[in-house]
């Protein structure tokens, strides 16, 4: 692509506007949900080309984790999708546990499902709030933040932090729930289904909302699969793909919930999917709370779980010589902390499929971590979603694929 400055100079000097009009959107734009820069090529008010530029929030999380031990690297995953940090933590811990072959106690598994679903509701509430605000409905924003605040208070009660929770740890969770948290969660699950109709009253049939969302950013199911969309963005196109059902982890196979699917593939159907998912997540939390009562008093950490303080490199242990007759030479042998090998584990994070690919060389730190972030893939699908749309619709499209730049740039 030619330099933007050159083209603008050309356009200034010529009488005719034969070049397409270039608009730079972001990185400091309130509707890009972070620091996303879009390079738009316009023909009148229609988008001819959309070119996303990323990397403004790059912190090198993958590289940093190579210099930290497994438990230290977990706190970095908080900072990926900072809206649903509990889900990131759980995904990372599950990947490391798969590598180590750890079996997590049942109570810890149930607690992990609860915090994952709480993170899902919190993420979807923030998504609805900001998406509605972008399109022009401010009241929904305030109502959503009111309810999200309640969830963050529960997170604070659980682990002492509201946003960057760092709650799970390898082999379980750090603290058990107490009765106060369980009572509060029961009250939340009781009350929350009554709050969702409030948002729906405001926007679900509102004619402005419908005009801004219906038939905008349409993508067919096949194309969505080809682009690698996952999560609500894919299910809005009629593809029934949810890792909680297709490849169950934790205790999801015991739970009774529906996979929310809509078939139109536009912004409105993605909105409907997320609204349904909030209801289902609420149902899941309710079921898990009932299951939690069955295993009262059980430990929340596996017996073989590593200490929080894992040694960074392989410790050397003295090993006697293989043949005693050949002398008393004592050899020191490196003992692996985490078995050598590689592992990929993906969970259904609120935004989509969040995968961790970890390569271990046997020491206490990962040799390589690769994060398959849903937001990164969703941004790569933005051109396909927005080309041919009006310039005002790009805001609805960005909002509907639900991106977080912390996760995309990592």
């Amino acid at each position: 692509m030619p330099q933007a400055v050159e083209i603008i100079q050309k356009q200034k000097n010529s009488d005719q506007w034969d070049e397409p009009y270039l608009v730079n959107m972001g990185p400091q734009h309130p509707a890009t949900h972070g620091v996303l820069r879009l390079f738009l090529e316009l023909d009148g008010e229609t988008i001819v080309r959309c070119d996303p530029r990323i990397g403004y929030l790059h912190r090198g999380v993958e590289k940093l984790s190579e210099n930290l031990t497994y438990s230290q690297a977990m706190v970095l995953t908080d900072r990926l999708d900072y809206i649903a940090s509990a889900a990131n933590n759980v995904g990372y811990c599950l990947a490391v546990e798969k590598l180590m072959g750890l079996e997590v106690p049942r109570r810890a598994q149930i607690i992990r499902v609860i915090v994952c679903e709480m993170a899902r509701i919190a993420s979807h509430l923030l998504w609805l709030a900001t998406h509605a605000l972008d399109i022009g409905a401010m009241t929904v924003f305030l109502y959503c933040f009111r309810d999200r605040e309640w969830l963050l208070d529960i997170f604070e009660e659980i682990c002492g932090a509201r946003l960057t929770v760092s709650y799970p740890r390898i082999g379980g969770v750090r603290l058990d729930f107490n009765q106060k948290i369980i009572d509060e969660l029961y009250r939340f699950t009781e009350e929350f289904p009554r709050r969702i109709p409030e948002y729906e009253t405001l926007i679900d049939v509102n004619r402005i909302w419908l005009k801004r969302t219906k038939g905008v950013g349409v993508i067919s199911g096949e194309e969505a699969v080809n682009l690698g969309l996952t999560g609500p963005s894919l299910r809005g196109s009629g593809v029934r793909y949810d890792l909680r059902r297709t490849r169950p982890y934790l205790i999801y196979d015991e739970l009774d919930f529906e996979v929310a699917v809509e078939y139109e593939g536009d912004v409105y159907s993605r909105y409907r999917v997320r609204m349904k998912e909030m209801r289902e997540a609420n149902k899941i939390i309710r079921q898990c709370l009932d299951k939690l009562a069955e295993c009262e008093g059980e430990p929340v950490i596996a017996e073989e779980a590593p200490d929080l303080l894992i040694p960074f490199s392989k410790p050397k242990r003295p090993q006697p010589a293989p043949h005693p007759k050949k002398g008393f030479l004592v050899k020191s042998v490196e003992v692996p902390i985490v078995p050598e090998g590689e592992v990929y584990f993906a969970i259904e994070a609120p935004k989509g499929e969040l995968g961790y690919y970890i390569v271990s060389d046997g020491s206490g730190h990962p040799w390589r971590v690769r994060i398959r972030a849903p937001s990164f893939v969703h941004i790569s699908a933005l051109p396909a979603l927005s080309e041919g749309q009006m310039v005002a619709d790009i805001i609805a499209v960005i909002g509907s694929v639900d991106i977080v730049l912390g996760e995309c740039d990592r």
Binding site: T139, C159, T164, S166, V173
Partner: protein, 178 residues
């Protein structure tokens, strides 16, 4: 959408009636500087070194576990041997609060519960030095914090709920409130 609904703006009227009802509901806003939200026990806020009520000093034994486990590497410890008693003395214990990411690993691994993240979040400074806590400042943080608390004070990370006792060091197993 039927003609009647289109003309009478029914869905917009419904939305407006909801907001009108909310006008008379109890407000959820907290007028922050004047009124404050009660914090949950175990909130991970400003750092402090626990002042032992028996000795009047800090409890740190200089085992370096917190410095090792810290993902941000913001804890600096220096120890030396007392020439007379041969005991280990903590010479320097410093935390750079601006580097800290408040994961709470330090208070979880500490075998004697010497370090704690207090339930205090309103601290800011005009310079970096103000937020670089040395040992005296950390003990002072504790004194400032503990007077606002109900006694005995017990931090949940001193003895994490649901963790089997045999996985905890002796100091954590016998942890008591202050």
């Amino acid at each position: 959408m039927s003609i009647v609904k289109t003309i009478f703006l029914t869905e917009i009227m419904k939305g407006l009636s909801l907001t009108l009802r909310k006008l008379f509901a109890k407000p959820v806003t907290i007028q922050y500087p004047e009124e404050k939200k009660p914090l949950a026990p175990g909130f991970r806020g400003r750092h402090a070194l626990v002042r032992d009520p028996k000795t009047g000093k800090d409890r740190c034994v200089g085992c370096y576990r917190c410095a090792q486990v810290c993902p941000a590497k913001c804890i600096l410890i220096e120890t030396e041997r007392d020439p007379e008693t041969k005991a280990r003395v903590v010479k320097r214990y410093e935390i750079d609060a601006l580097r800290c990411i408040f994961c709470g690993y330090c208070e979880e691994v500490c075998p004697v519960n010497a370090i704690v993240l207090t339930e205090f979040y309103e601290y800011s400074g005009y310079s970096r030095e103000e937020l670089y806590f040395d040992k005296e400042r950390l003990l002072q943080n504790w004194d400032e914090f503990i007077v606002t608390q109900k006694r005995p004070y017990f931090n949940p990370f001193w003895k994490p709920r649901g963790i089997p006792e045999r996985k905890l060091p002796a100091g954590k197993r016998q942890a008591e409130g202050i």
